[in-house]
């Protein structure tokens, strides 16, 4: 290569204290040896304020490569330097490790290949196309929320077999708990339950509720998945869902479906529209399982050998070609922020709890009531008290907060507006205050919905409430009204905390099992956040719904359908792409060399 082809590489070592990253110095030493690489810099040695000095250093270069982490942060500096040096700034090539999923020390070889491709002037994407392999036509969908339901139905309606795996006793997920959906205020159950029933009856869907993934082995197109079938202790082919067992059962537990606002029995059906609509036994709270003495349910059951209290968990293995991960989220635990008094003041509730309260099928039959103590000291929403007259909804609880989650949970602004509307609908004389930081009404029809709620007389105030205290039986909020420059000390009867969304506790185990990565904020990492938000670097594994990052129901549905289309595409072609991470350094470099000829 001639003098004109001389290349300089600028390594960004902006690691933010992260230790487990690729070995940049090793890569730099390797790159330095290449014939047309004449100089290598490290961002730590260069003063990013002195463009002129740097421009003088690149006078003899033709091309400049920016490699490493957070390469975008130095691009403007280097572009300016190129211009000052009289070079064409288009000759800057980016070789960002993060962009290509080279995040940990184990990815050093991959990062080396990324740099090498840049030196050869070949796009990494072009050199790193993995080969293809044949695909098993069966698909596993992990998670039975709206994302998993939608993806399963799309594939099943494409005439392919789907295993839909769900951890709890019913599909439906969080959406089944909601009362209305924004911005149209359609009833959530009216949208969801027909889909649930369709899943339950679909000949191509094998529904596996109360199951968990134990291990995933094999390779793209041919995954062997071991599944733990937790003992339901009720034979669902025999159960007629009469409910007499539950009526007589003495074991009690907190109802997950009612967001902890009520108690359920140890033998239970998660909610009346559950699919499958059969009872199951929660072993942790079953008196027979725990102590060996009880068995009332067996005695009262009208069907022979329907309940088998001694049933054991079992494991099955299935073979699938594709896996769609749709594991969803958990809501932020509001107890973590002590100054809001959740868990201390009974009438500070979470948005999910209010969602159950306003639901006609919820614990209070759709009435919004005060939370009080019952005789045993448990907190309950009791219907016979007078109703709260004033409400405050506080946005961004656990979201957009450096102390908890930095990201915006995307749904809280809209669901808070929706809840404000529902409160006004149920209790028209009540005062509702919303305290927000920024109102994010970004979707179709959302801004109009926001305007509508304002017109309905909800007081919408810009400012984040800092603390909540109890005073004379009411809750006192302290907030700065940022727009009008005043301090508001507002007394209300009930405070609703708009809790954000968080990755589930087992996200990292799940990621390890499936061989996929997580982004900095903990959600599963997509192959490309713009052009491939459902793919992963692992062949045959796609992600859908909130497990990839917070999103609302319309976006979840769209993404799930996209994941299904990826799966159907591979089944129709009979071929599936292998994992990018299986490509060796040598293979990528030889591809790149081939390409550059």
């Amino acid at each position: 290569m001639g003098e004109n082809e001389r290349t300089g590489i600028f390594f960004c070592i902006n690691l933010n204290g992260n230790e487990d990253v690729v070995d940049i110095f090793k890569i730099a030493k390797n790159a330095e040896k290449k014939p047309n690489v004449s100089v290598v810099w490290y961002s730590s040695d260069i003063s990013l304020s002195d463009t002129k000095k740097f421009a003088s250093e690149i006078k003899n270069l033709k091309r400049l490569i920016i490699a490493g982490y957070k390469t975008g942060t130095v691009k403007s500096f280097l572009t300016e330097a190129m211009v000052i040096a009289g070079k064409n700034p288009e000759n800057i090539l980016m070789a960002d490790f993060n962009e290509y999923g080279a995040n940990t020390k184990a990815d050093t070889e991959k990062a080396k290949a990324v740099v090498e491709c840049a030196i050869l002037g070949v796009p990494f994407e072009a050199a790193s196309v993995p080969g293809e392999t044949s695909v098993c036509t069966e698909t596993l969908v992990i998670g039975g929320g709206i994302a998993g339901i939608q993806a399963s139905l799309e594939i099943a309606n494409g005439n392919q077999k789907v295993y839909l795996l769900e951890r709890t006793g019913t599909i439906g997920g969080h959406m089944a708990m909601f009362d209305k959906t924004f911005p149209t205020l359609d009833c959530a159950a009216c949208i969801l339950t027909p889909k649930m029933v369709e899943v339950g009856q679909h000949p191509n869907i094998e529904l596996m509720t109360y199951c968990e993934v134990k291990s995933v082995e094999g390779e793209p197109g041919n995954y062997k998945v071991r599944i733990l079938k937790k003992a339901k202790r009720v034979d669902i082919s025999r159960c007629i869902a009469c409910g007499i067992c539950s009526e007589k059962c003495p074991g009690k537990a907190v109802s997950e479906f009612d967001a902890g606002t009520t108690l359920r029995k140890a033998i239970y059906i998660p909610f009346p529209q559950a699919v499958p609509n059969k009872y199951l036994i929660d072993a942790d709270n079953c008196i027979y399982v725990q102590s060996g003495k009880c068995g009332i349910c067996v005695k009262v059951c009208m069907v022979d050998s329907c309940i088998n209290l001694d049933e054991k968990d079992e494991e099955v293995e299935i073979t699938v070609g594709n896996i769609i991960v749709a594991t969803g989220f958990k809501v932020f635990d509001a107890k973590k922020i002590e100054r809001f008094g959740y868990g201390k003041f009974p009438n500070v509730i979470t948005s999910l709890e209010l969602e159950r309260l306003v639901n006609a099928a919820g614990p209070t039959g759709g009435n919004i009531c005060f939370r009080t103590r019952d005789k045993k000291g448990n907190w309950i929403f009791s219907d016979d008290n007078e109703k709260p007259k004033s409400f405050a909804l506080i946005h961004c609880i656990g979201s957009r907060d450096e102390n908890y989650n930095k990201y915006c949970s995307r749904v809280c602004c809209m669901y808070s507006l929706k809840l404000a509307h529902l409160i006004k609908e149920k209790l028209p004389d009540s005062d509702v205050f919303e305290y927000y930081i920024d109102m994010r009404a970004f979707g179709k029809g959302y801004e109009e919905f926001y305007e509508r709620i304002k017109e309905e007389g909800v007081n919408i105030i810009r400012g984040k409430t800092a603390k909540i205290e109890e005073k004379n039986g009411q809750l006192l909020l302290r907030t700065e009204d940022v727009i009008n420059d005043r301090l508001i000390e507002q007394k209300v009867d009930m405070v609703v905390l708009a809790v954000g969304l968080e990755p589930r506790e087992d996200t990292s185990e799940m990621a390890e099992m499936l061989g996929i990565s997580r982004s900095d904020d903990g959600w599963f990492l997509e192959a490309n956040s713009i052009c491939d938000p459902v793919g992963t670097y692992t062949g045959g594994i796609t992600i859908a719904g909130v497990c990839q990052g917070p999103k609302d129901i319309p976006d979840t549905i769209a993404q799930s359908s996209e994941a299904a289309s990826h799966v159907l595409k591979s089944i129709i072609n009979g071929k599936i792409r292998k994992s990018i991470k299986d490509l060796s350094y040598d293979k990528i470099v030889s591809n790149a060399k081939e390409f550059s000829k």
């Binding site: 100054r339 409430t465 009204d481 005043r486």
Partner: protein, 357 residues
């Protein structure tokens, strides 16, 4: 003057303390969590906003920063880690610079070199005086005693009073605050009371022990000033004064020592960032108490004549403290804080008169 946007304000403030004011997204959490904010006295968000917008005049006229005692709760709970508590500290330093007509406060806050040169010049001057006086104990002690009195007088008339008037000008006169005359008088007692007790800080989350330590240092320091300057502690024969001097010296260096340890540990929000002015303030106050204590001890044991160097050190510390740190450093906060409360109360009564409160 209108509120002109000054884009360099942010850059300028960065020289006065650590923090990234751009991080703030104006949620108002800091203002609302603070136990000292009231309906019409809002900080720190308004100050951050003024910095973000480059409103120098608005910042210069605000009293909010002086009302903050840096408990650090705003910084701990800030959703953006924008560190509003440290920002208040930086603005206090900046305001000290604004009020100071000599320009030296700003110079010393920004440049460690200038401060070093200042310290060196004072040191040389004191040694020169020692030389002129032939390094004689009695002559030097007499000089020191007179020096203290003149310095105090000069500081008050030439620097501190004009600076406080400047503060009054910026916060009240220029803002056209029309407070009723009687509020100037009634507020005055409040001013004196606040000055010595700083009892507003008791409302803070930091608790009463920190307040007590602070209070004992203030009382100790003022009494030390009184016993040395007006009761001539080093030369007195009066047993009561001697013992009083020992006690107040002890108060000063014991508690400042605790403050130094606190700053080294960096455990609390307030001690996480220490500007050089913070270090100099606590260390020199500590040295002041300690050297005075030892000097009197040497006087009592008749060792001082053979150990004049000790008194020289004390004199150097006192001269550096009096000439550089008191008028241009953190010491002035003690006055500005009290006057800020006074001015804030004037603003309040003006608003009341206009019926806006």
């Amino acid at each position: 003057m209108s509120n002109r946007v000054n884009p360099d304000l942010k850059k300028e403030l960065r020289k006065f303390g650590e923090g990234d004011w751009n991080d703030c997204f104006n949620c108002g959490n800091c203002t609302a969590i603070c136990s000292l904010t009231e309906k019409d006295i809002l900080f720190p968000r308004k100050e951050i906003r003024a910095i973000q917008m480059g409103l120098k005049n608005k910042l210069a006229s605000s009293v909010g920063p002086w009302l903050c005692y840096y408990c650090g709760e705003c910084s701990e709970t800030c959703p953006r880690d924008a560190n509003p508590g440290e920002l208040m500290m930086a603005v206090r330093r900046y305001l000290t610079k604004i009020y100071d007509w000599t320009g030296l406060a700003g110079l010393f806050y920004r440049s460690k070199l200038a401060l070093f040169i200042g310290f060196l010049l004072v040191l040389i001057a004191v040694i020169a005086v020692g030389y002129v006086k032939g390094f004689e104990t009695e002559a030097l002690m007499e000089f020191g005693h007179l020096f203290e009195q003149y310095v105090i007088l000069a500081l008050f008339t030439l620097i501190i009073l004009p600076n406080i008037f400047h503060m009054f000008w910026l916060t009240i006169v220029k803002q056209k605050v029309k407070a009723p005359v009687f509020s100037y008088i009634t507020g005055f007692w409040h001013l004196i009371w606040n000055m010595f007790t700083q009892n507003r800080s008791l409302k803070c989350e930091t608790g009463s022990f920190r307040w007590l330590e602070h209070f004992l240092i203030v009382i100790g320091y003022l009494l030390l000033l009184f016993t040395t300057v007006f009761l001539n502690w080093f030369s007195t024969e009066n047993n009561f004064i001697i013992w009083l001097g020992y006690i107040v010296c002890g108060l000063v260096f014991v508690f400042t020592f605790d403050f130094i340890i606190d700053r080294l540990r960096k455990k609390r929000e307030v001690t996480k960032f220490s500007h050089h002015s913070d270090w100099l303030f606590v260390i020199w106050l500590f040295l002041l108490g300690l050297t005075a204590f030892i000097v009197r001890l040497f006087v009592d044991t008749n060792l001082i004549d053979n150990n004049l160097w000790l008194y020289m050190i004390h004199l150097i510390v006192i001269a550096q403290w009096g000439i550089l740190l008191v008028p241009f450093g953190k010491w002035t906060h003690f006055l500005y804080r009290s006057f800020a409360i006074y001015f804030a109360n004037l603003k309040k009564s003006a608003l009341k008169r206009e019926g806006k409160l």
